[in-house]
Symmetry: C2
Subunit: 423 residues, 2 copies
Amino acid sequence: LLKVALVGFGTVGQSVARILCTRTSAGLALTHIANRRVERKRVDWVPADVVWTDDFERVVSSDADVVVELIGGVDPAAGWIRRALEAGKSVVTANKQVIAQCGDGLLALAGERRRHLLFEAAVAGGIPAIRGLREGLAGDRLVRVEGVLNGTCNYILTRMADAQVSFSAGLAEAQKLGYAEADPSADLDGADARAKLAILSLVGLRRRIDVEAVPLASIRAIDPIDFAYARRLGCTIRQVARAELLADERRVLAFVRPALVPLSSNLARIEGNQNVVVVEGAFGGEASFSGAGAGGGPTAVSVVSDLEAIARAGADGHAGWPAAPAADGVEREFEAPHYARFIVADRPGIIASVAEVFSRHGVNVDAVLQEPGWSKAELPFVVTLERCSSAVVNEALAEIGSFDFHVRRPVWVPILASEGGRS
Amino acid sequence: LLKVALVGFGTVGQSVARILCTRTSAGLALTHIANRRVERKRVDWVPADVVWTDDFERVVSSDADVVVELIGGVDPAAGWIRRALEAGKSVVTANKQVIAQCGDGLLALAGERRRHLLFEAAVAGGIPAIRGLREGLAGDRLVRVEGVLNGTCNYILTRMADAQVSFSAGLAEAQKLGYAEADPSADLDGADARAKLAILSLVGLRRRIDVEAVPLASIRAIDPIDFAYARRLGCTIRQVARAELLADERRVLAFVRPALVPLSSNLARIEGNQNVVVVEGAFGGEASFSGAGAGGGPTAVSVVSDLEAIARAGADGHAGWPAAPAADGVEREFEAPHYARFIVADRPGIIASVAEVFSRHGVNVDAVLQEPGWSKAELPFVVTLERCSSAVVNEALAEIGSFDFHVRRPVWVPILASEGGRS
């Protein structure tokens, strides 16, 4: 019987306890619940012999076999995980920031002590993506991992697409539904998905990447009008987190940003606050895992699945993580077709001016799209660009941005039709 | 180093050998290749010390640790798997019929001998669904497993939907592309998906079901016109294999049949010859796994992932399968809204006659749909029925079928909008 200590008794912790106390099957016993000011957290549906404490040291010195860390944030969580491993306990955590930032050292420590450090719940909530990449597709060599990893962004984007609500109205809805924090920056601007992407790179591509080196672009610039144009191109817009092993197998191309994706792609098909993880293998092609990216129940299932894995492995069945070398840096720029949207005070010659700048940067314009029925004072139009470097698009857009006809700042996003796969 | 003997060197066997011989990582060594008349199979890209043989007994008496069975069919495959386990070897197989029909006894034998018997490749080709259900979602209690498990059917149905080709033209295309056998009955009429469903029930619901007891309905009756009507109902048509644990937790509702599914559902989103497995958990809600359902590369990835799992577990790390009790029988009938399509020689009073029969059986008609522009000599129309028992619809349709106005036999399928989940 595996003795389990829960550290953190919020939404996820309570759901974990609920599963441990109601399922009949498992060789798992809940023995400790630790939380700050634990008295206000007491519930009557856990067995009477569970120890309630607000002192983490009491958990460390207990006979618990596994510590489940659910307090979130890097500090003090990372230190507590280290203390638990040093005390000979295995650790299960849902903490993406700790794994993305300090996972390397903690995994090495777990390996030395021959203890488990598992983190299925740290990426994509209830979707068993970590185990899917690490074990389910162990027979392949993965060359690309990507996904819709932030349910808040996806909720807002699908509302903009389906109900033509503005970005700020979509955000307000998400906050009202509890999908978004009071300060939603980490969701909207990509830092949340970036931490998850770093973990997927570690597990799937077996390359450590410096999480801070992954470039971000916010979804705040996206407007409902962009979905109308995207649809004309057979696409929708998603916050895409992508990591791709480059041909040298040493560097990793990575980014988190809004992108156009084909309506038929695995990335487009995920709606509302769902998540999806899509992988491309050298031998097996594309596979995808989707489901609830957050929420107490789904996240708790991932935590308990990790506990079951430790129980299956037995006391000495420690399965070490394969060594993941550091990538030789993160490549920030990539080639793709692109979408650029302008909102201008119309006058003759604007398209000529824009086209001239792209041409001077060696970028071929594919098409110019203009939906009818807009005021000349605030006229949107879209230019699609043939495949070229994101760096060049950035330079050209910076130059175009200095013209005086813009009513709003120009926006560009790549059009991510996959090469080979179906994404 | 785990010594691997391949038995069966067709498309999948060659792909497995290719992965074992080209990947650097694995603690796996290919030592034997067995095939009938093996000389014509020899290739120059496997190491010179691999033993080629056409004698299975030579594999059984060898020092191989794992036998990979890829010959297909129940006989002699089941006997060979038994012989290999009895000789102290672990077994990896892609053989759905053997696992669906004799899996129970073979798993018990593997348990007694403390050897592995793994079969990720037996269901949904390259999608790691077995491991996803068994380990990835081990923390949940699954109450429903379903999927699009036959790529041949899905290819034909998506071609009918997208290009309005007839059923027979779609089948001819699938055969030309190598997606369908010369005798496609097992695919079209459901026996192939049924074997896979029995395995998903065993692994996901942890209930053994008698594979022969699962009712089948063929997709042969579906016509392109059905997709036009389905679209008006926000749906498309899929061959759906579903197993659901009933509230008594002893009986399993199961079927393989064509069904209308909402366009936004996980089942509808899978196009062409792809597969998807969708599960509903009591704690975590719905999750889905999709990808290539067949093909040498994807199927080989699943085989090698099983080999990697055995290598990880080590010589003595046998992970027994949890006991799966036999279900107290398979429930064949279910409640749902239904779609019934008629093609008639038009005359006054037909709809009244049809409605009268439904009414007499206590079935409420929801709507009558009729697309314009068809000849009165061969006029299609559709009746949608409010939620009722499939048994009652069957009875009513049998009675309606005896009227003399039919030009073609009436067809009915359920409309599977999920309760609770998103399927």
